[in-house]
Symmetry: D2
């Protein structure tokens, strides 16, 4: 249930205020070079600290615990963990019986019968995306020379991301955003006609990212308002290149060799200083909740690198499945 | 690759102009009553014939070939097939080398090396949704008393669906639409924190439906433009009921007991009479293509029942997994 | 639950006295030639009629209902069904409440709450192996030029199969046997170190065959009585060829390029004319049972072709997974 | 590929001479008490040190890194690792190009292109069974009050295990053995008719244990030499109790409520002091190999607890699947 993929398989683990978070990756092609430094760039992009993100200083130092030998993947499962060091659980004690609106608190209580680690969101924490990003770094090596590239194109409904974030911070509130991801360099033929369509797999993995509430491919919802004659992407050469790309590089569930284009909607975090209403589960009494802990005014700022990671994971798996990438890297 | 689900497992099969289309369903709880008449209502909703849909008269008579005995599911796999009778393949001959923009033709060629059954879309045909709808009928019995209810709320960008369809027909063009689906009566606790979040599974299955290019839960993309204080659904009782439902009944990937609400974007079909540009794969020459066969001016008209089916399939699986529904129905 | 395989995926369906039995095969490489005649040889080997097998005349005519076009696999799921025609259910009526020792009757009652199709064993019938054999025919084409070859090497404990069968028939009793299977022509490197070892996958699939109660690879149980110095297969060249083959062509769960050798133990059928004791589930009274229907004195006679099929299915999947066989056949 | 199970899912990881070995367990019911001390008994049974086992002093201290909070499983994935401390890799350097007969060396080279961690067997090492045993400890809590109990009933072909081991040690040789496992307290109805028969799943998991070359259920191979009238287990009450248990508690792939009985053949380890022949892969020259490192004269001595673990893992998964065990433990 915490695993995704058929050949390149990613399993998530850990808790925000437990010992560690991490990821187990099976099916990594033997021979791919992997060193801790490879992860720096993407982890830095995910890390908090920028204006609008939580000041928690996370020790995002990836520890490669298995599956790598002499700097290269061995073909055995790769375990990467991040130790938790800067945890401050005191602020969460009260949340044990008073679920925060828009958070996992209530559903965790219902699903796991109160046995969850409630501190800092526990296993539900956004901190687990460090593991996704790490798996994405590996996946990006698998899909190369194809490249996934995501960015935040809108925050709080505006293209002026910085201004929107600033305003939310000043008000003790939060804003969401829209992340756009483009994947270039993929061959045609990835994905299946129905249940494992490229869109199915991408959406499946994207909705594993906390705070995502929507996804669209190509023209997406706007496309549903076009005419067929307008939406239709004329084919202009025998490689299937199209004049426009309203379909987002995927026809009938299968990549067509054009740029894969998707957008995701990121909700504003519900961890805000403004008061909201909830109920004390022990007493049934109404309660007001204000989150004073360290949180993000615009969690969407940290999402692009996670979306890239997930897109790379999906295509790594599909490329291996379609034998477009070998199971063992060439020596050299 | 053509299978979805962990316990309640659905596999699709068949071709538009082959012998049949159908579905194999594993994990159906033993004892559930099943007769061909149970399928009439939903199949009728999917069937063509309404204004704006193809005049092809499909013989959507479900044949239950296995897994049912004395009117009840036995617990063994249920095979349901629909024979193809009203097929007219002549119109497709030319498409063999001239891929229609926006269709599976090009990607099928690339993926399956030209061995696909190209007639009427073959295995990629929307006709395979008859199998999904049939599986949905079974799934709806599993999830009862929970109910999935979907409808077309917009076509061609307008709430006046009939007018939009009429206009498209007059112009030899097509329109898309937006389908809204609500599922009521589900318990809290369905779905997993990350890769098998309820949103992941729903989106995965929804994108198996042809022509879907977007999905959003609750406030979705509009929610990404709200403030956190505005989006946040206040909790008003110990059952987790919320004042608003901007999250669409799902927090942190897990149902919270409120109505599950999702919307999907359906693109306008690219099978239109208006000319579009493509390339003859054999010669590399540009070509114009006009589809003269029987097609839908607004395929979205037929999508709601398929979305309902898919939602029911997802929740049937999750309810079985969470032991909220027994593997064997009670006698009596 | 009724599905096996990761890429080449086989799902079983049907009932002995229902409409049909069959198999759905996903992941068949596009372009593989497939015609009904291809199945004749193996189905004939499985078919009853030989001395010692049931006189039921089964209409083992495979109907390819999907996934094949112009004589070749399209890459879409292949559905093959066998209609049931020569069914005589009267003899089974009494078994509804009086489970036969050694049969599925009791466990089916417990597992499926009495909703099973009890006629002729229903979904548990050995007749479903027709579907396995059909899938095996397809798989054999995938693994070629590698070849799986199985034969009955022992019946009733004796190498004189014919004599053992004759004796059992004369006594209204039954005998089991040992089937040996050899697979030649496989590359080294198939299988995984632990849970998906080649032995794990072969054993998994072999124990899907009714009446199998044991499996061993290479020297097997006899090997457990050897010394290490005796069992150890000396390596004699850089291709890994070994002087002996006590390991059965598999080291550490992975094929080593030598012949894969396995043996399976087939129990004697418990459908015999001799009286056995059971209990009437309705009354709790002891009852004697003698099976008068049409049955096999030595079901093991029909097992070799099923073992071959299963071995081919496993290796088809592993060869696809390891990219030793392409997903699309070459044209020509 | 390194994962087993449908709900209770076990993934293995690590290398013998890397940083650690371990296991990731998904689907552990929330609320099950888990502390490091729970693992002591079974890990002690697996540990080396007894006469006939390697003198390597492994630090089998399980570190529970995730999924447990306040002494109980949270429902999130449980990561358990064992740090490697007493590693001595010098002896393995030569093996890099000279594969040991009967070991993973040659197949690892072929499968992973020479990128494997060759030290101490790397990911193929029997040391990884520490992780299986740890998962088994958790699984045993899930299946309780059912109990799995395994023991070595034969070594070197003799019931006098101690004498056989002593002889092998004196000769610088090794012996194999037969392990018998009994599982009591299971309900009827576990397992599926074909591909996921109880025997299929047990065999699949058992063959993940290094050095296993055979498995049989109930009378097994001996049963294949009985008559049907002799093998058949008479049913003596409405609970399905049988007079004999030649079927090993499984009919038609499904548990019948009687004791599940299986035996496995363990080969003698090929790591022996006696000289064996192999080939230097770099030069193609024949070479003699004598293993001087620390090894087991009778690896079978350490197998029973691993077999128990694997049986418990299989039945934990089946009990959850059949809803005989809740997903969340009762508080109390």
């Amino acid at each position: 249930m915490n695993t995704f993929g058929r050949i390149f398989r990613v399993s998530m683990l850990g808790e925000s205020h437990g010992e560690c978070v991490g990821v187990l990756i099976d099916g990594v092609p033997a021979g791919i070079p992997l060193s801790p430094a490879d992860f720096d760039g993407d982890l830095e992009r995910r890390r908090s600290g920028a204006r609008g993100t939580t000041p928690r200083k996370e020790s995002d130092v990836p520890q490669i615990r298995s599956g790598v030998f002499e700097g290269k993947a061995t073909g055995a499962p790769v375990l990467i963990v991040f130790a938790n060091t800067d945890t401050d659980s005191a602020a969460y004690e009260r949340l044990r019986t008073t679920p925060r609106p828009g958070h996992a608190d209530f559903v965790a209580l219902k699903k796991f019968g109160g046995f969850s680690d409630y501190r800092g969101g526990g296993h539900f924490s956004g901190r687990l995306t460090a593991g996704i990003v790490a798996a994405g770094v590996v996946a990006k090596k698998v899909i190369a020379p194809a490249v996934a590239d995501a960015k935040l194109v809108e925050a709080g409904g505006s293209g002026d991301v910085a201004a929107a974030v600033e305003m939310a911070m000043n008000e003790g509130d939060s804003v969401g955003g829209v992340v756009e991801c483009r994947v270039n360099g993929l061959p045609a033929g990835l994905g299946e006609p129905f249940f494992d369509s490229a869109e199915s797999l991408l959406a499946h993995a994207i909705f594993a990212i906390p705070a995502i509430k929507g996804i669209e491919f190509g023209a997406g919802f706007a496309g549903s308002r076009m005419r067929g004659s307008e939406l239709s992407d004329d084919i202009i050469d025998v490689d299937g290149r199209t004049r426009t790309n309203h379909e987002g590089g995927i026809n009938a569930g299968i990549t067509n060799g054009n740029e894969v284009l998707l957008k995701v909607a990121v909700k504003p975090t519900s961890s805000i200083k403004k008061g909201r209403q909830t109920v004390d589960m022990a007493t049934g009494q109404h309660a007001e909740i204000r989150v004073e802990g360290r949180h993000d005014a615009c969690i969407a700022l940290r999402v692009p690198v996670v979306v890239e990671a997930v897109a790379a994971i999906v295509f790594a798996d599909l490329l291996l499945l379609e034998q477009k990438v070998p199971r063992v890297a060439r020596r050299g």
